[in-house]
């Protein structure tokens, strides 16, 4: 994935800084709770939401089961419509394909529609290495790019920034990249939006090449679909001469009738709207209208590996709505950057370690970045059982080196629980030594006693009380009955 996330510390370490950043926590709490409330309201409006959710899940499962067939259908339809299809096995291959395509146009600048896939492969950095500047045009993505920052949310990449921070970024950076911000810029949302509009307008009108992702690909016609709120995406998709779309292979849906289900599920789950303001669809090229040269780069980059895992494959149903981020109590406190990936939050905690593997300390920490509260599963519009996949990935992590002490502790606990008389002996030992237990524990226990008092073991366990009250055969004493 993108190089900007390389060298990030494991989740608990990165989260430590975020938890102690009061401004960040305030920004995150405010934003996630607002979207959370809006989503709940528009979902409650539909009396067939559970059926829609089940339909979304079923369509995705069916498509993934026959992914080879549908991808070939996409390729044939796009080619028949005058487009070109490229297959990229990994990030390097995808970046090389896009770089070569841009080079062939002779252009040094490209405009971009917000795209998770291109962030995943680090396309902007790869283009920069080839001397090509990529300009993000989504407002939040622009804020992140101008601030030399990293996205921290799937839908709202600049969720961690408030408007006074955005004003400072615009004033400081816009001139460097193009149309400068007006000197009298205030932090009023309308004024900030106008500054971004002017800055971007110049960009759209001069760009010859655009790079996009897509939310969906309809196999029956080879049509790509982008849903968005601002219209900037539509500018990118229609104005330039060349359009290059980099799309993960899991984005395919078989038919337009299937798309209808997702166009209900996605906006309500993501922005809390009944329908998103802009839905753009494009199929190959249309002479005299829109880009005359269209390239589709189909990206694998670990996805077929995810597909091969019986438990993990449900992750590929994800439509990147970010509802799971907005309800996640861990994301709300830790922020998106702590996940060290373009995919933060609960979905990132399962998607990233599957795409990248769990070899690094950061990736091995991600399956544990959840209290398994289950709120993410409840809101997921395609019913991905995120807690189930988290536990599945934890099993993979514990099989790696570096878990010797924990494994031994779990074995010891298992040994105690294997025999009630062992459990009873441990309980009595705890009861007898309870006065000796220090208020602050060493080792892993310190994490507990830093903020909480530990419960004092009782003098007598329940089972000892039962034996004392009811006798060894467990029958109630006469006078109790």
């Amino acid at each position: 994935m993108t190089g900007t996330f390389l060298g990030m510390p494991p989740f608990p370490e990165a989260a430590h800084d975020a938890v102690n950043n009061a401004q960040l926590r305030h920004n995150l709490r405010k934003a996630t709770h607002t979207i959370r409330g809006k989503r709940a309201a528009v979902v409650d409006e539909l009396d067939d939401w559970p059926q829609l959710r089940a339909a979304g899940k079923a369509i995705k499962d069916h498509t993934l089961r026959h992914l080879d067939r549908y991808l070939i259908q996409v390729e044939e339809a796009v080619t028949a419509a005058g487009g070109h299809v490229h297959w990229a096995a990994d990030a390097d291959e995808a970046n090389r394909i896009v770089t070569d395509l841009v080079r062939a146009t002779g252009e040094r600048d490209v405009v971009k529609v917000k795209s998770m896939a291109t962030q995943e492969i680090g396309l902007n950095e790869a283009l920069a290495d080839a001397g090509i500047r990529a300009y993000e045009t989504d407002l939040a993505e622009l804020i992140v790019q101008l601030g030399d920052d990293r996205p921290s949310h799937i839908l709202v990449p600049a969720i961690h920034r408030n408007r006074s921070e955005i004003r400072e970024i615009f004033l400081r950076e816009m001139a460097e990249w193009g149309e400068p911000a007006p000197a009298d810029l205030t932090d009023e949302p309308r004024v900030l939006a106008e500054a971004a509009r002017r800055h971007l307008r110049e960009r759209f009108l001069s760009a010859k090449v655009a790079v996009s992702g897509a939310n969906f690909m309809v196999a029956e016609t080879g049509t790509l679909v982008v849903v968005e709120s601002e219209g900037n995406g539509r500018m990118c998709l229609t104005l330039p001469e060349t359009l290059i779309s980099v799309v993960g292979i899991e984005k395919v849906v078989p038919t337009w009738a299937d798309l209808e289900v997702f166009l209900q599920l996605l906006p309500r789950s993501s922005t809390g709207e009944r329908m998103n303001p802009y839905t753009s669809t494009w199929t190959g090229v249309t002479p005299g209208d829109g880009p005359q040269d269209f390239h589709l780069v189909l990206l694998d980059n670990g996805r077929t590996h995810v597909l091969a895992d019986e438990v993990g494959r449900q992750t590929l149903r994800c439509i990147r709505c970010s509802a799971c981020l907005n309800v996640c109590p861990v994301y709300e406190r830790a922020g998106g950057h702590a996940y060290g990936s373009v995919y933060p939050g609960p979905i990132g905690a399962i998607l990233t370690p599957q795409l990248r593997g769990t070899a690094s300390a950061l990736d091995a920490s991600l399956p544990y970045a959840s209290s398994l509260c289950g709120a993410c599963y409840d809101v997921c519009p395609v019913a991905i059982d995120i807690p189930e996949v988290l536990v599945h990935l934890r099993e993979q992590v514990t099989e790696q080196p570096g878990h010797r002490a924990e494994r031994a502790a779990m074995k010891a606990a298992g040994w105690v629980f294997a025999d009630p008389s062992r459990l009873s002996r441990v309980q009595r030992l705890a009861g007898h030594t309870r006065r000796l237990i220090p208020k602050r524990l060493p080792g892993p226990g310190a994490a507990w006693t830093d903020t909480r008092n530990i419960p004092e073991p009782p003098a007598q366990s329940f089972r000892d009380w039962w034996a004392q009250e009811r006798g060894s055969d467990g029958s109630p004493r006469r006078d109790d009955a």
Binding site: F11, P12, A15, H16, V19, R25, P329, V330, R333, A334, P367, Y368, A369, S370, S371, L372, C373, G374, A375, Y377, V391, L393, R394, E395, Q396, V397, T398, R407, M410, A413, G414, V416, F417, A418, P420, L423, V426, Q427, A430, P444, G445, A447, W448, D450, T451, R452, N453, I454, P455, P457, P458, Q460, S461, F462, R463, W465, W466, A467, R470, G474
Partner: protein
Amino acid sequence: MRVALFITCVNDTLYPRTGQAVVRLLERLGCTVDFPVEQTCCGQMHWNTGYGTQIEPLVRRFADTFAGYDAVVTPSGSCGAMIRDNHPKAAARAEDRALADDVAAVVPTVYDLSEFLVDVLGVTDVGAYFPHKVTYHPTCHSMRLMKLGDRPTTLLRNVRGLELLELPGADECCGFGGTFAVKNPDVSAAMGADKVRNAAGTGAEVLCAADNSCLMHLGGMMDRQRTGVRTLHLAEILASTEELPA
């Protein structure tokens, strides 16, 4: 009706008063209660931390210990959910047909305490007396996995003298999450602090829940902060009477 208690290892070891309250309550309601002493632990800690392959003996022990009862009642939504949702998965993984059959036979007999009271006994007023202000934390696994719904609060509303105060952000996780509290201490503490603030803000004297693990985390935090709010398991409030107050 032959009712067996699955008291859970946490309650057995650290919160025997909860188990005693369950016994008192169920016997008051006319049940014959048994505590099969062969029981130990449901294996949730192993399962959720990534050591699910180690729990086969615990799954087998549970199925053997609780075979043949009309109902198995547990005062923990979290452990109840572990048995219902994951014991069948663990048995399937063991590729032992007999074990899978035993688990399939025992799972439908497992009830959380409030489920058993409301759904099986058909009781919503258990004749309790507890003249205090109480706020109720539904706990994630009780709410989302066991789907206890409003059963616990219905039971609390019928307790004589009890004033039930609504907990803001009730459906948010308290941050315990088993080993999560140890592996991600900062985030866990931040989540707990918000829950504690919300609970203390209600003006309640008691924070109640149907899971002592969550209460251990929150109680430890409230104790450290000297909020003056104490924690009580739902069973202890429901067992409370004028003669034997909780």
